[in-house]
Symmetry: C2
Subunit: 136 residues, 2 copies
């Protein structure tokens, strides 16, 4: 697996800034830092982020555009949704959720930050090995 | 060329709604119609849109994420910029511009609509055969 050839968008550097909120290795390449913030996030097999909530007074949340591989998106209290290249996920503000790779697949998505009034992300507990391990 | 296999995002249907503002055949597949509007726009070789301006009281404009092929982005009074898969273009509000395919290549980009206050697009004249024909 050449992580820079998974999609037309390079994987970028190790995602050190957010590493404490991830299990496993991820990579981050910022594609747009003006108008609308868009990052390319790449996850090694088994890598996922912690449960988290995008808070906002208005607007906010995130849109995932899956560009390569297979992974999951799960909202708190709901079954995990298997997602793969070509899928799109609209994540509303205020919803506790996580996303990441399948155990046996690299995974990459563009993350489009929905502009927000007073937006911030609240990072919560990791997805447990039990929860993650039970996914097909 | 299978236009639905250019990238992981299907090309969708013929872009009839905007056909009058395009030279040649384009295709449109809306990927997100909430939070931030994102469309996948596919251009056959030689296809391009008319000069146009994204107007807004605040915010506005568009971000192009090129997913496949080769094409051009040009702002009024500047040379055309050759763009290809992996390139990102931030188009500010208020700037007259066009984008489209190279003569000999299909071209596809995601168009991310930057949220705007009082946003609207002003469609102008086609890119002339002379102007387009002079591109390398």
């Amino acid at each position: 697996m050449d992580k820079d050839k998974m999609s037309v968008f390079p994987a970028g550097e190790k995602n050190d800034a957010y590493a404490k909120y991830f299990t496993g290795q991820s990579y981050l390449n910022m594609l747009s830092t003006e108008q609308v913030v868009i990052g390319n996030v790449t996850f090694e097999p088994g890598c996922r982020n912690n449960w988290h909530i995008h808070h906002a007074k208005s607007g906010g949340g995130q849109i995932l555009l899956v560009t390569a591989g297979r992974g999951y998106y799960q909202e708190w209290g709901k079954p995990a949704r298997a997602i793969s290249a070509g899928d799109v996920v609209n994540i509303p503000a205020g919803v506790k959720h996580w996303h990441g790779a399948a155990k046996d697949s690299w995974f990459a998505h563009l993350a489009v930050e929905v502009p927000a009034e007073e937006g911030h992300t609240e990072w919560l507990e990791p997805v447990s090995e039990d929860e993650y391990g039970s996914l097909a």
